[in-house]
Symmetry: C2
Subunit: 652 residues, 2 copies
């Protein structure tokens, strides 16, 4: 039998040594959760450090990511090769796999980036959903693993954490377990400063299986883990712990969280716990126990590999888990354009739904999440719901929980095997933003399809009308922001987004009608980010740059200007980020030297990239208002007439 | 005795008539909550339509703001003059006080803008905090009112709503009551699609007083309102209702929410409920009951006015509630600069804390909210906590609930009497963003003081390092974004923010040390938004534009360039929005014609406003990394050396 107590102490001292060596860090979590973590690894976790990417591994999420040394110590001790002693010694330094907070590196066993509070457990809900859906498709012989999330008080106070509790209970994600570090301490001091809630009762109200236990008692923890595995509900293990356990000066105090450690602290801890090993060294017997801990994972993986080899589903399973598109993808993509072209003029959100429908059979790995807007966003028609009883569905009614939904999107993408599509109104992108930033930071694919892109929302008014949201996401690194002009560009955006593995894509789609501005034959022009939709021959007097439904305004203005002898080119700019990645010569050709008018039903912020001081921008100058869309466009002067008037002035 | 049932029907028919007239709207809430609302107004609400701004009025928040016709009907019927029949007839049209969602117009009785789900109840928590704090200061003779929030399922599913429940319970805000429209329907259909939580149990777990009742039974509602008033805890009235009650075709169905109404629907409702009055008319007896409903408010207000006249506190009470600064404000502000100048070089977040401390006596109406970061943000030193037992404190430990805190900030400002200051890390501004947008949209003052402004965060890494957040808020209308260079500019930003009544101010403050770059004598230069910190005589070869701690880098580079014979001017740009409001001539003078280098430890997005194509930007190009701040600045090339090298190239 492994000596789990000593295994826990090994975590403690690696954490103390690394934090002391780095000169900073958060000892509270690794020291307080050492017994919980060691017991999980010794008794329950299914993983094999020899193959960190094994698709059927259990997922471990350190939601309280500031306690990152817990995770690094676990990975190092259990045999993940990338987490070397040298890596521990470079904790919190550039280039180290042991960054201040965990940063996704699945080869090293780091499943997901965590640290902004609440994101981790919300992502874990996405992982558990992915597991259940994949198990329904491929059977428990290929997919049967658990998601374990270490979680602190902060994650549970966050709204996103509360949303996670509620939906996980509703969906009865029985293979999801939260290991709560109930240490009664947050950054401000005693948790009683800011919470007096009965947390176990709150989980119980949401349908969870709840156990309260001593987080330092290994047998109790072991039994609780067993019980969690046996229960069909998601499980909370409310583990009463002492923060920074083992550091005589700091244990169970506010300073336990992250007060600077001294050499004396380390010495006192060694004396108190009878730990003789020098810094960064682990006694051979303890290391032996650790290296043996996940041996059962290797055995299980070997049997799994046999099952995979024997199944006719192998190729499809491997395609899903690799994230590869099907071999006939070019044909499928061409068909999408056909779907778009055949549509009557309609909202681009409907075009997006059409595309999503058309993919239901050919890309069954799509998983659509929607925040209680099924009817106005049109992405369920070809799908059934994923529910507590029916795991085969590919549409999750996430409820009015956008922030959670954003993090689930990242969690599903990080889990692998499914392609998440996230649907709601663009105004709620602000609710999802922190989670979307995580997806961009992690470089995870995912489609964020937002409807109601502008004042085109109409009478629901300025609370629901994005004016600055496009700019705010164009400012975000590694986020591709699409605002398609019509159904064709919408289909093109889907194609690009699905072919993009290195980060998420946002689509700002319209509630208002969008006429087709292009026939969609030939090249996917949206790949260029911006392109000459209508050139002006032999030479242009003016360039009209527009996005979304304002492209049609520019096209109409071009005709009127032509009647007045002014030759205006029209440039559609569905994705600035892709345009910026084009060769300089292409960009110069598209933009031209003639005076420019930018048209977008949004603020000018950011448009200075394309407009020179004497060029003109036609768009919003502040928040919107409440009236029908067409009246608002007129009220705010985003009209064909405005473009024509400005064009005459500029070209005159 | 008033006929409350008929009063409720009057709400129903005004809502039906207005929605039918507008051709769209949400009938579910006004029809489903008519009895609840009528009973509240007839039996409990303390308000006087003759003086909608009376400081001691009860606050009513329609958190399920899509049901705006409920509020407009209530205001019209109870005698708020601004809500005329004409206004009801222009529901959802430009210029109408009856916008699609309620938009703050306190003269008309609309306390706060609501509609993005969850914002309303979270703001209501802020209002209840404000009431309790003001009552502690001025006594219950002047301040003794309640906050009532109508709330739907959506608001309670949102994370921000869950945060509100948790903190309101913790703070035991006994004068706060949520009236929950438990109609079992959301946009997607039955609430069972997305929630199976025991909502009353969830509230009880957070320390609320909970009653479950029939939301159409007037006596029961009346008793429950009494019980809510009597209980020292915040109260949830879980009112089981039938959505769109009274419309035979739609009652208790998914379409009840907002399916288009027909003339026949209106007719059928009139027949079903025996309502003979023509559209927009209210039978005289019913109108009489409505006009009498708030008569007790007029009496209570009169007595209150007498008490106010008789108290020595009158002038101070009136100053607080008007939002005016004290008469000696210029002297106080000058002293703030002194505080700043005397400080040793330090983080600007510490300078901000120093200023906040220095205001504790002279601006006692400041109310500081902080999300579990007391120690690293330094804004509590001169304050005691506002708690369930001690209402006199001016510092709220909001816990790890940033989104709620943002909305509380708006709620406190909307309530009036206090000046809210909101403190956390800038990375968490993304969590608060939807609430900050609401403050900007409403034009409410409030200081959002964020620390940890950039890669200066250090080893906590990219999750916690803003790179795009400055740009994302510069893109937001009516938000003043300050990034002060040093303690002097920090004090200046505080002065400006406190003198600004028409919208919120954001301060991006540093964890890293900031040397003083200015002595602060004379004019508040930050009012100009940007200014020549160091001119170059007789003529400049180069202009260095910088914000925050990068101003000191520009100053150092200027000296090194001077030694090489290159004359560089340094422009500090603490607030772009204020600079843009300056006269063209001033801006031209500051920016000059020489080549420019922009320096900011953030992405270039937005800097194209100030930089021409051949100018240079020195800053970030993507997300940050985990290491100490000084190493990150070097790693990303944001250094004096980089500026000097670029300057030589540009000016050479």
């Amino acid at each position: 039998m492994a000596d789990i107590q000593s295994m826990a102490h090994a975590i403690r001292f690696l954490a103390i040594d690394a934090i002391l060596n780095a000169g900073e860090g958060h000892q509270g979590v690794p020291l307080g959760m050492a017994e919980i973590a060691a017991t999980l690894y010794a008794r329950q976790l299914k993983a094999d450090p020899a193959d960190p990417l094994w698709p059927d591994r259990d997922r471990v999420v350190l939601s309280n990511g500031h306690g990152s040394m817990l995770l690094y110590a676990l990975l190092h001790l259990s045999g993940y090769e990338a987490v070397t002693t040298e890596a521990l010694k470079s904790f919190r330094r550039l280039g180290s796999v042991c960054a201040g907070h965990p940063e996704i590196e699945q080869h090293a066993g780091i499943e997901i980036t965590t640290g902004l509070l609440g994101q981790g457990i919300a992502s874990a809900v996405g992982m558990a959903v992915a597991e259940a859906r994949l198990a329904a498709r491929f059977g428990s012989g290929l997919v049967d693993h658990r998601t374990w999330a270490f979680v602190g008080d902060g994650c549970l106070q966050e709204g996103i954490g509360q949303e996670a509790i509620s939906l996980a209970g509703h969906l009865q994600l029985g293979k999801l377990t939260f290991l709560w570090d109930d240490n009664h301490i947050t950054d401000d001091g005693d948790t009683a400063l800011s919470i007096s809630e009965d947390v176990p009762a709150r989980f119980a109200a949401a349908g969870w299986h709840v156990q309260s236990l001593d987080g330092h008692d290994i047998d109790t923890i072991s039994d609780a883990l067993e019980a969690a595995c046996a229960d069909p509900r998601p499980s909370l293990l409310a583990c009463r712990t002492r923060i920074a356990r083992g550091l005589p000066r700091l244990e169970a105090t506010r300073g336990g969280h992250s007060a600077p450690l001294t050499a004396q602290d380390a010495q006192e801890a060694r004396a108190a716990l009878g730990w003789d090993a020098p810094p960064f060294e682990v006694p051979a017997a303890v290391l032996g126990d650790w290296r043996g801990a996940l041996r059962r994972g290797a055995e299980v993986r070997s049997a799994w590999q046999d099952r995979l080899s024997g199944t006719a589903d192998r190729a499809e399973f491997e395609r899903w888990t690799s994230g590869e598109l099907p071999a006939d993808w070019p044909k499928v993509a061409a068909r999408l354009l056909g779907v778009a072209q055949n549509g009557a003029p309609g909202p681009t959100i409907t075009a997006s739904g059409d595309v999503c429908d058309a993919l239901a059979d050919t890309l069954p790995e799509l998983m659509v999440l929607c925040a209680d807007l099924e009817a106005p966003t049109n992405h369920k028609r070809a799908r059934t719901a994923f529910t507590a009883l029916e795991r085969g569905g590919s549409y999750v009614h996430c409820g009015v929980r956008e922030h959670l939904m954003g993090a689930m999107t990242g969690g599903i993408a990080a889990h692998g095997g499914l392609r998440p599509v996230n649907v709601t109104y663009l105004a709620f992108a602000d609710y999802e933003r922190p989670a979307m930033r995580m997806a961009a930071l992690m470089g995870l694919p995912g489609i964020f399809a937002f409807s109601h892109d502008s004042i085109g929302v109409g009478s629901n008014g300025p609370t629901h009308q994005p004016v600055e949201i496009l700019a705010s996401f164009r400012a975000m690194p590694n986020m591709r922001v699409f605002r398609p002009a019509d159904a064709v560009e919408t289909a093109e955006a889907w194609q690009i987004a699905l072919e993009t593995q290195e980060g998420p894509s946002l689509m700002a789609l319209s509630r208002q009608l969008a006429d087709l501005v292009r026939d969609g034959a030939g090249e996917n022009m949206s790949r260029r980010g911006a392109y000459l939709l209508h050139p002006a021959e032999p030479e242009r007097d003016l360039t009209l740059l527009a996005t979304g439904t304002e492209v049609a305004l520019a096209v109409a203005a071009r005709e009127r200007l032509a009647a007045q002898g002014i030759r205006a080119a029209v440039v559609s700019m569905p994705c600035w980020e892709l345009f910026e990645a084009q060769p300089e010569a292409y960009r110069a050709e598209v933009l031209g030297e003639a005076p420019r008018i930018g048209v977008e039903a949004a603020l000018a912020f950011g448009w200075q990239k394309w407009l020179r001081p004497r060029d003109v921008f036609i768009g919003m100058t502040g928040f919107g208002a409440s009236d029908r869309a067409e009246r608002l466009y007129a009220h705010f002067g985003i009209t064909v007439e405005s473009i024509v008037a400005a064009g005459r002035k500029l070209a005159g």
